[in-house]
């Protein structure tokens, strides 16, 4: 096959996936020293070039400084971008900072379809007596909960997923290597159908086929962590996987679209 044929084929294979990014980011973080500042314009350009048709977008400010400010900045950035939806930074409902879920008069915004916690960075853990009321609220709204594997423990995720089986949890594979932990993650996915694995850094050999064969494709979701990371990493992995076309489409977008379509505000 010639180079131009190869380029065309891979680009067409990716476009056929109708990708939706579960983890796009505005702002910046020191975890990726070489990243450019995540402006809406840069993210838009990256998505256009990679053929990504929609996204859940977050703001690094939510971890790095003030979650309430981050959510405000994020929602302002989404104005006029109807294919982008917000992932809000949330914390335990008690004690609640002003402007966050749990504070007086706070209402879940229309543009937000997901929530993310940073337990390690914000100094708490995902034990029920701390985050139980938050999880109950998210279950009532059918809002999925995102958490990076570096912000919690697999034991906590397991316990939370079992305690709240109606809560969709998306375990994110950044910001450090997740490939060392597959002996914990695979049993976690198998035991907890409500735990989903985000793919941006889930890159050890053959894992996509192994999970599809042994657990099923419904618990894998495309995330890119653009603009820190290259969206063509997970997209290439999915497009060139030796799995069915239906499974590829599920992983690249349909799974997360199904989850956020259930949100009831």
């Amino acid at each position: 096959m010639s180079l131009s044929q190869l380029k065309t084929q891979i680009a067409e294979d990716i476009a056929a996936l109708d990708p939706f990014d579960a983890s796009g980011w505005l702002g910046r973080t020191g975890d990726y020293p070489l990243m450019e500042d995540g402006s809406p314009e840069l993210l838009h350009t990256i998505y256009r070039n990679a053929g990504i048709n929609g996204a859940l977008v977050s703001h690094w400010h939510g971890r790095e400084y003030c979650p309430a400010d981050a959510n405000k900045l994020l929602l302002e950035s989404l104005i006029g971008r109807d294919k982008w939806l917000a992932t809000l930074t949330v914390q335990p409902l008690f004690p609640a900072d002003p402007g966050l879920a749990g504070s007086e008069g706070w209402v879940w915004p229309e543009q937000a379809r997901a929530a993310r916690v940073f337990p390690a960075s914000h100094k708490y853990s995902l034990v029920e007596w701390c985050v139980g009321s938050l999880c109950k609220m998210l279950v009532d709204l059918h809002v999925p909960l995102f958490v990076m594997h570096t912000e919690t423990s697999f034991e906590e995720v397991y316990a939370l997923a079992r305690r709240f089986p109606e809560l969709n949890i998306v375990l994110e594979s950044q910001t450090k290597k997740i490939l060392y932990h597959m002996r914990m993650i695979l049993p976690l996915l198998k035991a907890c159908p409500n735990v989903n694995l985000e793919m941006s850094n889930c890159c050890s050999q053959g894992m996509i086929e192994y999970i599809c064969e042994n657990i099923g494709p419904s618990q894998l979701v495309l995330g890119t962590f653009s603009p820190a990371c290259d969206p063509l990493v997970p997209l290439g992995l999915i497009a060139q996987a030796r799995i069915s076309e239906e499974a590829k489409k599920m992983i690249a977008g349909d799974n997360i679209r199904r989850i956020i379509a259930e949100v009831r505000l």
Binding site: L6, S204, G206, P231, Q240
Partner: protein, 264 residues
């Protein structure tokens, strides 16, 4: 126009033991190479890295035979056991499939600028062998500071005839700047993009900074699935001429120059 040649210039064979991966067996690796159109892959066997010199050598030769010559190998030099390492490398001289030397300062726990590496640089110079080393940035993992690109400079400068490949192009942080600086300063330095250096715009940036003739495609399988790096390379936006260099011709020039005219 010559056919596209894809060479994975940095991968591993054998059980990766500390982590769970799927399909690391040589037959599976070959199947995936066929699926992706990868013509050749350069292996560093896990057993060799782990210090099992005889077993690593035997397994590398076996994989070379099993692959019909498509998976040549590098021998590992461990400065903690210099004599045994050199003896094992000596025994590879003249063997089909032996193409270079691998060093891994972080894995072996000895910083890249340590004098104990001088012997292998001398050896590589004497036998006209390229050296591939793990390189990385300062991160949360403290052993990575043993492989910072700048630590290699003395050896590079002292051995200008040794082609030196900085694996992972210095990693995902400021080590990448150090690697690019050294490639700019020394014509015998190359950067490979193997591994999980998933930085956005990585390949175009490296090509801009050091030139397409100094960047080499690699995967680091089975730690990293080869598909993680292949599509992003092919769709990176660099020119077709640059792509041919990066995807295969540079690796052939460094490790197997006798094959360079094949397919042209």
């Amino acid at each position: 126009m010559s056919a596209l040649r894809i060479v994975d210039a940095h991968m591993h064979l054998g059980c990766p033991w500390t982590l769970f991966t799927h399909g690391w067996q040589t037959a599976e690796v070959l199947r995936l190479m066929n699926h992706l159109g990868i013509e050749r892959a350069y292996s560093i066997h896990h057993r060799w890295l782990a210090g099992d010199l005889d077993e690593g050598r035997a397994a590398s030769l076996e994989a070379y035979e099993q692959s019909g010559g498509r998976i040549p190998f590098m021998a590992v030099f461990d400065p903690r056991c210099e004599k045994q390492s050199l003896a094992a490398i000596d025994s590879c001289l003249g063997e089909g499939g032996f193409i270079g030397i691998k060093i891994h300062p972080s894995f072996h726990g000895i910083a890249a600028d340590d004098a104990s590496y001088e012997v292998i640089w001398e050896y590589a110079q004497e036998h006209n062998l390229p050296i591939l080393s793990h390189t990385w940035s300062e991160t949360y993992n403290p052993v990575q500071k043993l492989s910072l690109p700048r630590l290699f400079e003395t050896h590079i400068a002292r051995h200008p005839s040794v082609s030196f490949v900085m694996g992972h192009a210095g990693g995902p942080g400021t080590g990448q700047y150090q690697a690019a600086e050294l490639a700019g300063k020394y014509p015998n330095v190359y950067l490979d993009i193997a591994g999980d250096v998933f930085t956005y715009d990585l390949l175009p940036r490296l090509v801009r900074n050091v030139g397409a003739d100094r960047v080499i495609f690699g995967t680091d399988q089975p730690w990293i699935d080869p598909r993680s790096n292949l599509a992003r390379t092919i769709l990176s936006g660099i020119t077709d001429e640059q792509m041919r260099l990066v995807l295969g011709e540079n690796a052939l020039r460094v490790f197997e120059p006798h094959l360079l005219s094949e397919g042209d």
